[in-house]
């Protein structure tokens, strides 16, 4: 798999085997999309310690570095896991780093869209609305909320079982979260990076960018396999230049999205990482539409059926690209930053990071 190439680590090999095994049958996936919580699959993920990958060892997690964990999310995207695995990895790490006790079971993040604010009043009651919160009915929610003094804090909420049944195109639950006087189970201070404008959303965006890269690699692999085996006019369709060039262009999109994610890989919940996370999501979201289009074009009518597994990937690409801010949202944020800095400053904005941060420690943080 292209997106995984450089690692070859034992951890990723192990994760890849497990992820591939969890939803080997299409029926298991479709059941999850119908709303059956895949408890057995979830338990295996937890038992292997993957869900707490980023949680410090002292807090019972695996204590891995961000640069080791982002590829895990990429891999989860590759296998289109119908579970809040990525959300749990991120939310658990945030909550643990903020000093909270991580609850058992799946976790998620709210808000998940730009421009949405949840509030905490002086009496400790929550209000506000967050749309399309992934798995809000099944998972504990780590929410970024604005307190009475206008400062961001983290709040922990139990799963909102009444949240409704709306699902993304990918088939994963994403109900609206309506808070009307609820009391959080716990509150923790928000980090400096989460307090920045865009800081909260950038973390979820980075998470979805990694999943997009994994999913795009899967879609492209389906396209290449099909182009090599489907025979028309007496030869595999991959022999035709028109098909080759489409696939090459999609590979370029994937490569650029991968490189954009790799830029951001040293960072988790750090102020220096916000711009790189924005770039990663902007590039990956833009690439996803093109890669999905090419994959479907190459697979023809077969790729448009429920029978072929391509849709498990492409339906998620079409959703992930718009979750935690689509490319248009992030383009605007990046553009405003570049325009505020001015033409001459642009180069340093891009070139002086992230090496400077990584080098001092001698390794990626």
């Amino acid at each position: 798999m292209a997106a995984m190439a450089e690692t070859g680590s034992v951890l990723l090999d192990e994760a890849g085997r497990l992820f591939g095994d969890l939803f080997a049958s299409a029926e298991a996936r479709l059941a999850a999309e119908r709303g059956e919580w895949p408890e057995a699959a979830w338990r295996r993920l937890e038992e292997q310690g993957f869900t707490l990958a980023l949680v410090p060892e002292a807090k019972g997690g695996a204590g891995l570095r961000p640069a080791e964990v982002w590829p895990l999310l990429r891999l989860a995207g590759h296998y289109a896991l119908p579970l809040p695995f990525a959300e749990t990895v991120i939310a658990a790490a945030l909550w643990a780093r903020a000093g909270g006790e991580v609850p058992a079971g799946p976790l998620t993040l709210a808000p998940a869209l730009p421009g949405e604010t949840l509030r905490l009043d002086a009496a400790g009651r929550l209000s506000g609305r967050a749309h399309a919160v992934p798995w809000a009915g099944q998972a504990y929610i780590v929410a970024s909320v604005t307190d009475a003094r206008g400062k961001p804090v983290l709040a922990l909420l139990p799963p909102q079982k009444e949240a409704g049944a709306r699902r993304t195109l990918g088939g994963d639950p994403a109900p609206d979260l309506v808070l009307d006087g609820a009391t959080p189970e716990a509150l923790r201070p928000a980090s400096a990076s989460l307090s920045l404008p865009h800081g909260w959303l950038a973390l979820g965006a980075h998470m979805r960018a990694e999943q997009l890269v994994g999913g795009m690699a899967r879609a492209l692999a389906y396209a290449i396999e099909h182009a090599n085996t489907r025979v028309q006019f007496g030869r595999p369709i991959g022999k035709f230049q028109a098909v080759q060039h489409m696939i090459a262009e999609a590979a370029g999109e994937l490569a650029a999205a991968t490189a954009a994610c790799d830029r951001a890989a040293p960072f988790f919940d750090e102020e220096e990482g916000v711009l790189d996370a924005a770039i990663a999501k902007a590039r990956a979201s833009e690439a996803a539409g093109k890669v999905a289009e090419v994959a479907h074009q190459v697979l023809g009518a077969m790729g448009f059926t429920r029978e072929h597994p391509l849709h498990f990937t492409t339906r998620r690409l079409w959703s992930w690209r718009d979750e935690f801010g689509g490319e248009h949202h992030w383009h605007e944020m990046i553009g405003r930053r570049a325009l505020a800095a001015g033409g001459e400053a642009l180069w340093r904005l891009l070139a002086d990071r992230p090496e400077g941060v990584m080098d001092e420690a001698g390794e990626a943080r």
């Binding site: 292209a2 190439a5 490569a255 383009h331 553009g335 930053r337």
Partner: protein, 387 residues
């Protein structure tokens, strides 16, 4: 699916130190008014600038000190190339010699050629042109018909090359010639020679480009004698040599930073006055998209530089950098023109307008030079395992 590798690479301390050094050099140059930042940085021919860059140690950086090099890593060279282009410095005189002719001579040239030419290239005094395309051989390079025949200790070259950038201004050209039987794959029997462009029998005719500029030439060889010591590599090994260096030619920042100064000019054009009304969402998005693309390209290109530094030959990854990079270069003027009212005209004082006009006229060449987009996509497709 075949593996594509863009392993993230950290810049070593040496490369970071080199970055500060080249920035200081460029700052001094700018402050002294010795160059004006402009688009098409590596297309602009300024021997004075090249000599100063050579003296400062920024040409032939990776070569052995015995040949005038600095024994820096490929990542340090990558950093210098990026900084030069980002500054819009006129690197055109030495660019080809530094990027590909010098490295070929170092790896496959005779000791005489190395001793004679490399120190002069590194000093920024000796410039090269590429002698691959011919009137009837473009993308199908294996069909070259320029012949070199052995006569005693020398070779006699007959034929012609075309689209030879700066042949009228540079000192040498490396010519790909047919010296033997093409074999079934036509890749046999090709040999490269260093040709002195002042040698008897070399005739150079200008070809003006659509913008009116004279960069291209057609170069004729009328029984041009070249000593065997100016041969590059073994007889018949020319194809392997030409394709072996492609990763260096295709993965560098010159494949996405040609227009960089148009992007900075666009930002300044949109941002004009500090404290002025906030820029509109459409403007911000257009710029932000280009910046996101550039960030990704920088990482891709740096990853390939890291592979090259590790001694690998990532030809497919390099083709991807060039395909994605030149697509980006060609988009910059298309985005920029949305924020310029009316047609671009000559004779104005506004830098943004001048840069936009120049880039619009030169953009078609970006996806042609160094391997057309179509050839690259074929290479990428094969690299992905399409059979």
């Amino acid at each position: 699916m075949a593996e594509l590798r863009f392993p993230p690479v950290r810049l070593p301390a040496e490369a970071r130190a080199v970055r500060e050094k080249v920035r200081a050099f460029l700052r001094d140059e700018l402050e002294a008014g010795r160059f004006t930042p402009d688009v098409d940085s590596w297309g602009r021919f300024d021997p004075e600038f090249s000599r100063r860059a050579g003296r400062a140690g920024f040409i032939g950086m990776t070569w052995p000190k015995a040949y005038g090099g600095g024994e820096y890593s490929a990542l340090s060279r990558f950093v210098v190339a990026c900084e030069m282009l980002a500054a819009g410095a006129p690197c055109g005189a030495h660019w080809i010699a530094d990027r590909q002719s010098g490295p070929q001579i170092l790896r496959h040239g005779s000791e005489l050629a190395r001793r004679t030419l490399l120190p002069r290239i590194a000093a920024g005094e000796c410039y090269f042109a590429i002698g691959m395309s011919e009137p009837n051989s473009g993308s199908d390079l294996a069909s070259v018909r320029t012949r070199a025949r052995r006569e005693g200790d020398a070779w006699v070259i007959e034929g012609s090359k075309i689209w030879t950038s700066r042949a009228h201004q540079v000192h040498y050209l490396i010519a790909l010639t047919r010296t033997g039987d093409p074999g079934p794959d036509r890749h046999q029997g090709l040999t490269q020679f260093i040709v002195d462009l002042k040698a008897p029998g070399v005739i150079i005719r200008p070809i003006h480009n659509l913008a009116g500029g004279h960069e291209f030439n057609e170069v004729f060889f009328d029984r041009v004698r070249v000593g065997d010591e100016w041969r590059i590599g073994e007889v018949g090994e020319g194809w392997r040599m030409v394709t072996g260096e492609l990763a260096f030619e295709r993965s560098g920042p010159d494949r996405f930073l040609s227009d960089y100064r148009l992007l900075t000019a666009l930002i300044d054009h949109l941002g004009v006055e500090p404290g002025a009304e906030e820029v509109g969402a459409e403007e911000a998005r257009a710029v932000g998209r280009l910046v996101a693309h550039l960030g990704a390209l920088l990482s891709m290109s740096q990853a390939v530089a890291g592979l090259l530094a590790a001694g690998e030959n990532p030809a497919v990854e390099a083709a991807l950098v060039k395909d994605v990079g030149t697509r980006f270069e060609r988009e910059i003027p298309e985005v920029a023109r949305r924020f310029f009212s009316g047609p671009v005209r000559s004779g104005g004082a506004d830098y943004f307008e001048r840069a936009l006009g120049r880039v619009m006229l030169h953009a078609p060449s970006y996806t042609l030079r160094g391997g057309t987009r179509e050839i690259l996509r074929g290479i990428i497709a094969r690299g992905l395992g399409l059979r």
